[in-house]
Every structure is written in C-alpha cells, then in structure tokens.
Symmetry: none
Subunit: 211 residues, 4 copies
DNA sequence: AATGAATGAGGATTCATTCAT
DNA sequence: GATGAATGAATCCTCATTCAT
C-alpha cells in the first residue's frame, strides 16, 4: 500500500508505454511502406493492439506520422547538442570525433528510418522538413562550421574553403545511407570506416599548402 | 495517294504520342505523391485525358509506375555508355568531364524524379532497384574505377586507395540532390560547381605524396 | 457489267450478312457468359469485326440480346408451325414424330443456347419470356394437346388425363437438356432415344385399361 | 458474473448472425440478377448493412457466391441423406415418399434459387457444379436406383428398364421448376400433385406385363 | 460502312475513422 | 481505456457507348 504511492501499477505503466510502442511500430511500418502505403491495421498488429487504440493516442494518421518523426528525431538532436561543447585537440581529432557521433546516430535503425521518411514523404509534410532542418541540420552544420573555422584559424585548413566545401565533408553520410538502403544487398558500405577515410583525404586535400 | 504512305493521320499521331504524355504526367505525380499516394485520376488530369485512357496503354498502376522508371532511365543510361569511350588527358580532366556529364544528367528534372522514386519506393519494387543498379550504377562505377585505376597507374593518385574511397568521389551528387530536394528552399547548392570543387580537393588529398 | 445488275458485289453481300454474323457471335458469348457477363468487345472479336460496328446494326446491348433471341427462335417456331398440319396415323406414331421434331430442334446448339438464355436471364427480360411463351410454348403445347385429345377420342389414351399429365410428356426434353448442360461431362443422356423410350412408357401407363 | 459466461452480448450475437444475413440477402439478389449482374451494394442494402461489411465476412464476390451455394445446399443434402434409410413397403409407396421429400425440398425458395443459380452460372463455377453433382445429384440418383432395383426384384417394375428411364422419373421436378420460374405467371404447375400423378403413370407403364 | 481511340459512369474493393460495448 | 465491428468515402479498374477519322 505504501508502495502504491511511489510505484505505478502495471496498468499505468502499460498506459504510459503505449504511445511509444505505437510510435515504434508505426515508424517501422511507415518506413517499409511509406505514408500512403501504410495501413493502420498493420501498425496496430505490430504494436500488439487493436486499430481503435491508436486513436486514443493520436488524432489521425497524419498526426501519428508527425509524432513518429518528432519523437525519434529528438534523441539524436539531444545527443548532437550535448556533445557540442568540448573543443579540444586538433581539427583532425575533432572531425573524427564528429564522424563517430554521426556514425553512432545512423547506426540506429530508427534514425535511418526517419531520415528516409523525410526524404520520401517530405513533399507531403513540409513542416516536418522545416522542423528537421532547424532542429537537426542547422545545429549539426553550425557545429561543423565551428570546427572548420577553428581549423582555418589554427592553420590546419586552407582559408579559401567555401561553405559548400564544408558541407561536403558530410556528403558520404547521406551517400552511404542511400547506397546501403538501395544496394546493400549487392554491396554494403561501412559508414564509419569510410567516413574516417574520407575525412583524412579531405583534410589532406584541404591543407593550406594546396594552393 | 503517295503522301498517304508517308503521312500519319492526326489520330495516329495522337495515339503514338499518348504513352509518352501519360508517362510524363505519371512521373510528375508519382514524384510528388509517391506510388501509393498517387491517384490515377490526377495523372489523367495532368495528361489532359480521361481515367480510362491510361488503361488503354498500361495494364495497371504498377505497370505504369515501372514504365515510368524504365522509360526515363533509358536516356541517362545511353548517355553514360556513349561517353564511356574517350580516354585522353589527365586524370583531373577526365574526372571533371565526368562531373559535367553527371551534372547534365541530374539537371534533367525527370531524371531527378526517377532517382527519388527509386529511393522512396525501392522497397516495393526491388526489381526496379536491381535494374537501376545493373544498368545505371554499375556502368557508372565501372567507368569511374577505370579513370581512377588509370590515375593510379599514371601516378596521379596514391595506390592505397580503396574501392569505397573511389565511390565517395561521387557522394556529393547524391548529397546535393537530397539536400536540394529537402532544403532547396532554405539554401540551394549548385551541383556542378560544388562537384568540381570537391574533385579538386579530393585529388589533392589523393596525391601519392600524401602518405 | 451485265452481271452487276444481278449480282451483289462482295461488299453488299458482306453488309447484308453482318447482322447475322454478329447475332451468331453474340449468341455464343451470351450463352457462355450470360448477359451481364458478356463484353461486347468479345462479341466483336468472335464476329471478326470491331466493337463500334455492332452499334451500326443494334442500338445497344439490350437490343442485341433481344435480337439474338428473336432471330434464333424464329426458325424452330416456323418448323413447329409448318409441321403442325399432318394428322395421320396412330397416337403413338404422332407422338414419336413430335419427339423427332423436338429432338431435331434441340440438336441445334443455337436453339439450346436460346433456351438457356431465357432460363438464365428471363427475370431481366420478361418480355422475351412472354414472347417465347406465346410464340413457342403455346403453339407446341397446343399441338401436343391436339394429339392427346385425338388419342383420347380414339381410345388410345385414358380420359382421366389432366393438362399437366400431358405437359409432362415433354418434361424429359427440359430435364435432359439441363442435365447435359450441367453434367454432360460426367454422364451424357441421349435426348431422342430417351424421349422415345419415355413416350412408350407413358403411353403404356396412359392406356385406358389402367384404371 | 455467472451469467456472463453463458450470455453473449448483443454485439457478439449480431456478429455471429451477420454471415447468414449476408448470405441470405446475397442469394436473393444473385438469383434475381445473376452473378455478374449483382451489385454488392444491393446485397448490402438487402442485408441492412453497408457495402464494406460484406468484406468483413467474405473475401470477394466470387467467394460470397460460392458460400451462398454451399451454405444453402447443405440443408437439402442432409435431408436427402438422412431419409435414405427406411426401405419398407411397396415400390409405389417408396416412390411417393421420395416425391414428397423432393417436393418439400423444392418448396424452399432458397433451394430453388440455388438450383437456378447453378443452371445459370454453372459455366463460371464448374467446381460448384461438380460439388452439386457429387453431393446432391449422385446420392439422390443412387437412392432412386435402389428403389427401382428393388422394384425390379420384387416384380413391380419390368426388368428391361434402363438407367435413363429411371432418371426420367424425376424429370418433372426439373421441368416444373423451370416452367414455374418462367411461366408461373401464365400458368402455375403444382409440383407435388403432378409428380405423384406422374409416378402413377410411370409405374403403370413400367409394369412387367407391358412387354 | 467500319474502325478503334476515347470517354466516364458504374461497380469491386480498401481502409481511415467512428462508436457501441 | 480498449476493442473490433461497422461505416462509407475514396480509389482502382471495367466496359458500354460515342465519335472523329
């Protein structure tokens, strides 16, 4: 009885867990079938609940989809931002650290799913794209810019670098994810390894003495 | 009477043009709404015909979609292959030439549409993905490999290069297309310029004296 | 040139033959697929013409169907009526002659088709049923009644016979046709032989001394 | 609480009754309009439900049709089989008993509907025809044959009887049903009375002394 | 007269959403 | 809160009918 005040009974636990279970199931099915191709019945089956229950937690299919993205994207955002603090060591070290972070993020299948959903369904949900841009892309790019600016200041990177050149440092992340999704069966590319290798080449090519 | 043999009446001309008109409209709508989200009525409206007419030329929605991809992908395939012949000049020159070709290909909105449809709907049409891989990706990669191998042989590129490193030379193509599709409103990246710049950096980073 | 006046050129012949060709094809397809299940395109294919041509000769699907029935039913009607004249010989002889006539009529697949179309689609075309009843059934029954009445008068048939008993003399015609259509694959029944046998049994059972 | 185990709530009751309601409505409409001519919306209206509900219980129109036949045919099959046991009394008595049973069966409008659906749509559903032949026709014929063979053995029926002659004993059943369906408005024939009369005539005609 | 491309109303089927239990 | 039966709007697809050639 005393415990009751501090503990949530299983019903309550279940109740609070429901939305996350649904979102997880929904993400899964949305990713496989796209927005329009997803039947809520299948989402329900995946979540082990009935169709009607989804509507206790989400207004409709659209809202469910948006919630999927917002919810799943939250984690990596937090991770990105929190790690944005330490600025010690060489440019090389910082970039490889960043590569590790990004690699970790994309090693999460849920995050990959979100990424592809935004690519696939972005036209139907422009607000989500804006949200993603503001909350995920902009901070990440900003952080990358900081590292690079610091590299220029330290003399690690040539000063003629453009904003686009900096962005391209991360282009393998997109490329490899798209590649693996489509052609992973034929030939799978390792994201982290290849990204580290790419950074090395890029840094070599970016040395100030290269014009 | 003589003309009769060489002339097609307007009915025939119309009929022969129909499939292409329909495919063009379909590509447009599929690209905006995805496969499942596309209503054939809208395709018909776009093509300026009626619903039923689509079925005079295509068995069903699936076949229409496949035809879209196959038809549109044909052109770049041809372009890729035809240009595969000349091998003169420096590695740098060849790579920049390749960049131009790719840039031209992706400057065609139809081709970009196909690319995104394959990314978005690949799971539903694995055969199309395989087709795209075999007909578009493999020849392109093969051609890139030839240039790079030749570069290694000529001493332009360091010999420790991996297959993945070579592939990444093209990663900006994917990255920029995805970026522009999603965030083109916020900040548009120029494909050709950026790709050329990237190639220069990459070549500098790949010089044999860099380790 | 002289011949021209007496002869119809092939175009004209073809033109006059068209309606019959179409009706024959239509009957075939209607019989296989029923009214609603028949596509006019298939009728056209069967007739070796194009869909549109049907509409040069028939207003619409309904009229085509009715024409099928009326046209095909005409022949047996004529046959029935013309043969209704001779009344010589024993009742037995007359009945067996009638059996032969009916057997001949139903040996024509077109006539069987009509019969089944009327059974199957009668509810949709009550006027056709009425037409069939008036033009085919009533005269036939009337003729049968005449024979039987004459048989009663001659003392060949007992006088207690009812109208229904008389009708039943022909019940094997329907039974055997239905049977063969449905179960002909399993076991086919010969219409004429069995009908003759049935008449003999019936006549024996109908002798005045049987009560 | 105790009641709970024995009671079904109204929802459950409704759900369990649905298939039969739908089948009954469907049989009705199929019988009126044939398979192709039936709109599922009309079936739904007849059943007092909505279009979609049909699909909760039947996969598609074809399956609904088959279920109609199988379900409705079940009863008479059972009746036929159960009554196949008693073999006492004269041949005459047995045949008149059989006539009663058959008359009862066909007095059920649902059974008549099935019969006509099989005649009308048999070509489209050959498996149903086979099913009907095996489950309904064969047992009935077999039973009739037993009675007649016994009649021959007892000296009630002449031994020269053929299998077809025996079958014809039931030809009025088909004839009268077809007649009444088509021409019932003009002149309705009573199945049982006429069948009994027919049996008497047939038996008289079949006496051994008749040749 | 003949064609067959085009139309669009009509019907089968699906599935997001509601709501009685 | 949870269920899942029921709904009906939405969408694919067919085919009778029209009409320009």
């Amino acid at each position: 009885m005393i415990e009751r005040e501090n503990k949530k009974n299983s019903r309550t636990v279940q109740k609070e867990a429901r939305p996350k279970e649904i979102l997880s199931a929904a993400l899964n099915v949305f990713e496989s079938n796209g927005f329009a191709g997803t039947r809520l019945e299948e989402v329900a089956k995946f979540a082990g609940i009935s169709k009607g229950t989804i509507y206790l937690y989400f207004d409709n299919k659209d809202e469910l989809f948006k919630a999927c993205v917002r919810e799943t994207v939250g984690k990596p955002i937090a991770k990105t931002l929190e790690s944005a603090i330490n600025f010690e060591g060489s440019t090389e070290k910082l970039l490889h650290e960043l590569a590790e972070k990004i690699g970790d993020t994309f090693s999460d299948p849920e995050y990959r799913s979100i990424f592809f959903l935004i690519v696939s369904e972005g036209k139907r949900f422009p607000k989500l794209v804006k949200f993603y841009f503001d909350e995920v892309i902009t901070p990440s790019v900003s952080r990358l810019s900081n590292i690079i600016q610091r590299g220029v200041d330290r003399g690690d990177i040539k000063s003629s670098i453009s904003e686009e050149d900096a962005l391209l440092l991360l282009s393998p992340v997109i490329f490899i994810n798209v590649w693996n999704r489509l052609f992973g069966n034929e030939k799978k590319i390792n994201l982290k390894d290849t990204l580290h290798s790419h950074i090395d080449i890029w840094l070599d090519g970016m040395r100030p003495e290269n014009k």
